[in-house]
Symmetry: C2
Subunit: 256 residues, 2 copies
């Protein structure tokens, strides 16, 4: 049975998509069967894996709004073992369209249950907000992973995110747990990065991944070519970090 | 009569709040009377100006939801001439709460009209989404400023943002125009920054500010002290760039 992990943080630009794409690719390269579900109207995970958003017949929008099965939207990627449910701009109106729908926060949960039998890991890349789309992801998930930029504003949002997690766990998904906090864009030469890392590790202890992701412009370059970092430049530090993170996620799954 | 400018981009982490705070501070230092309205539930502009979000009696939430006058929420900042309407987590539910309200996209417009007579510039810092809050900002504004990170995913969202602008202009605010596109986190040593600048200037021509904002960790440090960059470190390149941008905005206002 595969596990479902949401990549969540309402703070914008902290590395949610970059982590979703490269962690999913890392696990696929290590032999796991992986599905990445893009529920962000920006569709960055979709284009980050080289899929043309303008030529999609079906996307996650159809799963949310016209009851299409998840299986009918799954596309292959350049990496064996890695599949994606794409997103595009159609999803922009979903927050409003879902407002008057019965059990609007459980739609994704009902649609993803069957996929657990086909994949070892299912990741959900969330938009930078705590609306119905992100709520759907948290209800559908076993756990959630929080990319955290080592900067001041990113720390501010953490308390709010933990509040939301507690609400979802108490009311909608009792078994939801935190997969971990991942420090991204870490720059060991900047005082603020070191300071924030210390604070986060003291506060959240073993909930923080041992792996940190360094700031590396090659990640952005890889995205402009629609490739995960391992296919763009295997020897860069960001590539080895994301592979290391993949191994850490596998180890955690075994021991939890 | 003051002009109202929204700082908008649904892509997260591109420098909306950093621009809102430092451009507002720059204009205040140059002698203009400036109001900054924070409509992002994260409240980063509020804490970026040193205001404690947990001790607010009234915030922008009250303006949206219980018809409080904007004037009753305005607070002073460390800078003469610069005032703020703060935001906090209360605003998280606003997208849903506004759904069944009459003329939900015109609330902010009706509340800000009087403030034009007291301020030379009114800026609105928006969240990273195109929901009711951002819609309210675009309807209330004369123009909008788009911070654009010089990276691939940021370019992707631009087409969608221009679509939304056209929709708002055609249906809700005929006079809305683009104040400009601002290149942020610009790194002249990175090939991808140079490439994206060239593409954006070719495509958007005089709609792109001449001033670009360099990547500078001092901006993040200043935020952790709740200060605009000019109060934290006046001689850094980011400080001179935001002052230069302030002058460019003043010049544009004279000639348009
Ligand atoms: N470790 C890193 N080093 C350098 N740049 C990075 C790193 N991680 C992400 N980036 C860049 O930072 C920007 C933001 O990353 P990304 O889009 O993954 O964040 P996000 O949290 O998904 O954003 P959003 O909130 O808009 O969904 C991107 O342009 C990406 O290329
Ligand atoms: N020119 C710059 N150089 C270096 N860091 C910057 C620069 N501008 C912004 N930052 C940092 O990048 C992060 C994102 O900036 P900011 O929070 O202003 O973006 P935003 O678009 O308002 O994000 P959100 O979408 O969450 O509202 C912050 O931690 C900020 O300190
Ligand atoms: Mg993203
Ligand atoms: Mg912001």
């Amino acid at each position: 049975m595969g596990i479902i992990i949401s990549i969540v943080n309402q703070k914008g630009g902290v590395g949610k998509t970059t982590t979703a794409v490269n962690l999913a690719a890392g696990l696929a390269i290590l032999g796991k069967k992986v599905l990445l579900i893009d529920i962000d109207p920006q569709g960055n995970a979709t284009s980050g894996l080289g899929i043309n958003k303008d030529k999609l017949e079906k996307s996650i929008y159809n799963v949310f709004i016209d009851n299409t099965n998840l299986e009918n939207t799954i596309k292959i990627t350049d990496i064996d073992n890695l599949f994606i449910v794409p997103a595009n701009n159609d999803l922009i109106g979903a927050n409003v369209e879902l407002h008057n729908v019965e059990q609007r926060e459980k739609i994704l949960h009902n649609k993803t249950e069957r996929a657990r039998y086909k994949f070892d890991y299912i990741f959900i890349d969330c938009p930078p907000s705590l609306g119905y789309l992100t709520l759907n992801a948290l209800v559908a998930s076993d756990s959630f992973l929080v990319p955290l930029q080592c900067e001041f504003f990113a720390m501010e949002g953490l308390a709010q995110l933990i509040n939301t997690f507690n609400l979802v766990r108490d009311r909608l998904n009792q078994n939801l747990y935190i997969e971990g906090i991942l420090l991204t864009m870490f720059d060991k030469d900047k005082h603020i990065s070191i300071e924030i890392e210390k604070e986060v590790r003291e506060h959240f202890k073993d909930k923080v991944f041992k792996t940190t992701i360094p700031r590396d412009i090659k990640l952005t370059e890889a995205q402009s070519f629609g490739k995960p970092i391992m296919l763009y430049n295997m020897i860069t530090k960001a590539s080895t970090s994301y592979l290391q993170l993949s191994k850490e996620v596998i180890t955690n799954a075994k021991t939890s």
